[in-house]
């Protein structure tokens, strides 16, 4: 028996060895190295220069970085409520006896599989002020043209709407799975008690769906914090830095200006913000609904 166990143990170590190597190289080393980088000035070409806490001092005086975080939060504050509301709405519609349910689900899911690059190039045209599809439809319907990407106030919310369009199919599928896991008996009992469909939604569906709502909020938050390619292609961060996301700013610092030490400090600080927000969200939503 003891021999058998040893044999298994050896096989176990042998089989996890590749992961250990991967972990040390691409997780542990970058993590440790980022702790070193944040105390240095470095452009990769010349030797590293130790500068103590200067990167942090610079960060706390860097208005553009805080603006980029603010912009990212603007994005999230439009994106997340929209995403949860629309996804839940369509999931509810699809969670009935419906012909061609699979067909609708597949179509809604289409933007999810397509590259964000495609979606962004397409929406850049759709948002164009004079010739864009959306403004043309608005003019036909008797409304005024909207300066989607031209106005500094609207540009980031416009990107958030586009991102919602791209991702919402994924969250519809997740909500559908959540809805289908709610026991039918709950609704039957409620119906016997004479509950309206409004009451059923707020007293049964929403509380039972809480874990799914938390998941959707957390996943869209993490996704939203990595907002990069959309503003990179669409606006380059403009107008007036209003769509400069934190990730785009870090990218520019690292790969445009070659400020590796400073960019690593920004990445480090930004990661802390992300973790904090996600932890707070979980606590907050999980408590509020129950």
């Amino acid at each position: 028996m003891v021999k058998m166990k040893n044999f298994k143990s050896g096989a176990g170590y042998f089989m996890v060895l590749p992961y250990i190597i991967y972990f040390l190289t691409f997780v542990a080393y970058p993590l440790i190295f980022s702790f070193i980088l944040i105390f240095h000035r470095w452009n990769i070409a010349t030797p590293m220069e130790f500068i103590g806490f200067k990167n942090f001092i610079r960060l706390f005086n860097d208005e553009l970085f805080f603006k980029s975080i603010f912009n990212t939060l603007v994005f999230l504050s439009v994106h997340i409520p929209l995403q949860v509301f629309i996804a839940l709405f369509f999931a509810q519609l699809l969670n009935q006896k419906i012909k061609m349910k699979g067909f609708f689900r597949s179509l809604y899911f289409l933007p999810v599989v397509v590259s964000g690059v495609v979606v962004t190039i397409l929406w850049q045209q759709m948002y164009a002020y004079e010739t864009g599809l959306i403004n043309q439809v608005l003019v036909e319907a008797g409304f005024k043209k909207i300066p989607w990407l031209v106005s500094p106030e609207l540009a980031m919310p416009s990107i958030a709407v586009m991102a919602t369009w791209k991702n919402v199919g994924f969250y519809i599928v997740i909500f559908l799975a959540g809805l289908q896991s709610i026991p039918k008996e709950l609704y039957e009992v409620a119906e016997i008690d004479g509950a309206s469909s409004f009451q059923k939604f707020f007293k049964i569906t929403l509380p039972m769906l809480n874990p799914t709502v938390v998941l959707v909020v957390v996943l869209s938050t993490i996704g939203g914090f990595s907002l990069f390619i959309e503003p990179y292609i669409m606006t380059g961060g403009g107008p007036m830095d209003s769509t400069l996301s934190a990730m785009l700013y870090i990218y520019n610092q690292a790969f445009y200006f070659n400020h590796m030490g400073y960019a690593a400090t920004l990445g480090f600080f930004f990661a802390l913000i992300i973790l904090t927000v996600v932890i707070i969200q979980r606590k907050f939503i999980e408590r509020r609904i129950y």
């Binding site: 992961y19 997780v27 699809l94 397409l122 599928v173 990179y232 790969f255 930004f270 992300i274």
Partner: protein, 270 residues
């Protein structure tokens, strides 16, 4: 009955909102520049000129094969190593197993923003900038996939493994001859998710690849559009976007159900 009609009406509007822009895009690439802005898809002057401009200006066919090579390598590697580690974590006893599991869960929580720049520096120091290895190596394993395999393997009875072991199979043989054929749902989930995210990845290629010949498809199209090579010609930009969308849309139209089901499992992995 009235409610049903309204439901279908909203569902159809939804379908138009999600699908029409793509349809419009494909037709727009076939129109002359002055007609593109038209909301309707049809035109009398159809031509493939925009595509020939794209094909002449950028090596997009080569980029397609670069993307295919990188995505397939990453996907194969993630399945291969993911299943091996998942097997060890679910079916073998060794000291430190629980610790390793916690470590894997921990790595999933690290925001990539913190490791992005140090990982780039590592790749640069290894001389792997502008190589396929620079694109592939950091994606070769994924904690999420290990957990998907582990989760699935836990449902496979140990008696199967014991009897194979008595027949003289070693653990790798057991895994690849017995367990993997029984684990098609897990393999296809990991395969589709990994392939899709690798195919659509654009930030990492933008960072490690500068040589046009090695660029992946999304990267090449991004640089084509942002870098001004496409000029202000909308038809050409949209043609490059259409070419970029095409492979994954074709794959999706064949394997829709698998795509959707794989993505839905992300929701169940809490």
């Amino acid at each position: 009955m009235k409610g049903k009609v309204l439901t279908y009406f909203i569902l159809v509007i939804g379908a138009l909102i999600f699908a029409y822009p793509f349809l419009w895009m494909v037709f727009a690439t076939l129109k002359p520049e002055i007609e593109i802005a038209n909301i309707w898809v049809f035109s009398k002057n159809i031509s493939f000129k925009n595509y020939s401009i794209v094909l002449n200006k950028i090596p997009i066919i080569r980029a397609f094969f670069n993307s295919l090579f990188v995505s397939l390598s990453v996907t194969f590697s993630v399945i291969f190593f993911g299943s091996i580690v998942g097997y060890a974590l679910s079916k073998l006893n060794f000291r430190g197993r629980e610790f390793l599991l916690i470590l894997i869960l921990f790595t999933m929580m690290i925001p990539f923003q913190i490791t992005l720049i140090p990982t780039y520096i590592l790749i640069a120091k290894l001389g792997l900038v502008d190589t396929y290895a620079g694109l592939i190596l950091p994606g070769m394993m994924s904690s999420f996939s290990i957990l998907v395999f582990r989760q699935f393997f836990l449902t496979i009875p140990d008696s199967l493994i014991e009897s194979a072991r008595l027949d003289g199979c070693n653990d790798l043989q057991i895994l690849f001859k017995i367990i993997i054929p029984l684990s098609k749902p897990a393999v296809s989930t990991v395969g589709i998710l990994t392939f899709m995210s690798s195919w659509n990845e654009v930030l990492w290629p933008l960072i490690v690849i500068r040589n046009e010949k090695l660029m992946t498809m999304p990267q090449l199209v991004t640089i084509f559009v942002v870098g001004g090579q496409a000029g202000s010609q909308l038809g050409v930009q949209l043609a490059s976007a259409t070419l970029l969308a095409l492979p994954i849309v074709i794959a999706y139209s064949f394997f829709q159900r698998y795509f959707i089901e794989s993505m839905a499992t992300v929701g169940l992995k809490e």
